[in-house]
């Protein structure tokens, strides 16, 4: 399936350089295996991988399947494997990759919809499974106070983990996810910690019961790859170990 095309020079500026962009192509509906198409793309210092892919779609092959939305690392749509590591395409500058060849593939450990777009159903299912909301017997409306007050120190305990944009990069990098299709995954486990550590939440026991499973938190072996690829600094590995600290009695 290899094909080399180049974008016309009228699109480039004097400061631009050229890279070879290798895009993985696969349509599960009619392809037996995936292949790569190669495009010669010009880029500037600030050009992101997503912009390069969109250039290819605009000038060469509009059929390249890619999902994106915000272009500012907020929506978590454009996760993909870029030069072997899971990254957000909109958050990865080509100049930072220090390579003349940029290879983009769909994220591992997610079923492929087409080309670079993957299904997120499993990610959202496991996220929902850990009850990602505050659990209380009372409600704000019934309470005498207008809101549930927290000290800055209490907010610090979980706010880092509230930055998760559900992009799936952590699940793609996780070595356990690579082999265990039933594993809850670092994204959901980090979110379980986010709510367990929230002083307003009273659902700790029910959440710990959900993740205390043979395919739950005990399958994490602290490889830390999830934290290394997180584009928002969530550090799921830390959240998982702190969560396990609750279960092992190191924390209360």
């Amino acid at each position: 399936m290899a094909q080399v095309s180049s974008i016309s020079n009228e699109q480039t500026s004097p400061t631009s350089k050229l890279i070879t962009l290798r895009i993985s192509r696969f349509n599960p509906e009619h392809d037996e295996s995936s292949g790569f198409m190669e495009f010669s793309v010009s880029y500037e210092k600030w050009t992101t991988v997503l912009e390069a892919i969109l250039d290819v779609k605009k000038h060469h092959d509009h059929s390249v399947g890619v999902r994106y939305s915000c272009r500012q690392a907020t929506c978590g749509s454009c996760g993909m494997i870029i030069n072997g590591k899971p990254r957000l395409a909109c958050f990865t500058k080509i100049s930072e990759l220090n390579s003349d060849v940029v290879t983009v593939e769909p994220m591992n450990n997610f079923p492929i919809i087409r080309d670079l777009a993957v299904k997120f159903e499993k990610l959202f299912d496991t996220h929902q499974k850990i009850k990602p909301y505050l659990i209380r017997d009372d409600t704000e409306i019934e309470s005498n106070e207008k809101e549930f007050l927290q000290s800055p120190e209490e907010v610090e305990q979980y706010i880092q983990f509230a930055n998760c944009i559900k992009c799936g990069l952590c699940n793609s990098a996780c070595p356990t996810m690579a082999t265990d299709s039933s594993f809850v995954g670092p994204q959901a486990l980090a979110q379980a910690y986010r709510y367990v550590a929230d002083s307003r939440d009273k659902g700790k026991d029910s959440r710990l019961k959900i993740i205390d499973d043979s395919h739950g938190i005990w399958r994490c072996h602290f490889a830390g790859s999830c934290s290394q690829v997180c584009p928002k600094g969530v550090d799921p590995a830390m959240g998982i170990q702190l969560l396990r600290g609750y279960m092992l009695g190191f924390r209360s």
């Binding site: 769909p106 690579a178 072996h221 830390g224 830390m238 170990q241 702190l242």
Partner: protein
Amino acid sequence: MSKDEHREGIKGMANPTRYGIERVAYWLMRLSGLGLLAYFVGHIYETSNILRGQVGWNEFLELTQTTEGHLVLAIVIAMCVFHTVNGIRVMLGHGGIGVGKPARPDYPYEPASQNYRHKIGIYSAILLAAIAMMYGLAVMFGE
């Protein structure tokens, strides 16, 4: 495992090259664990030779006195030391000890859980395993 799931599989799990020294430690931990398990099974077989009497026992024990036997034992020593030291590091981490404190992350988002304490633990495990292996080799081949 369904092909539809697009999982990396064992090949991806066992690839230690992409995610820093922590993933190398993860890989070495798996490898040394499997190696020690194999040694444990072999060791049970070895000691079961005592049932063949002193002659049978001595015959089998001679296998460990060969160059190949010494090299295997040296690797077992290295695996044992690495698995122990790194295991202590991982167990402490699993209890939430030494993994840092939650805080508002700042760009470029260096993960606090991959801090210098754990890196020192990993490098120490590798170094101690190498020293123990060399000491074992010196003892075995120095006889």
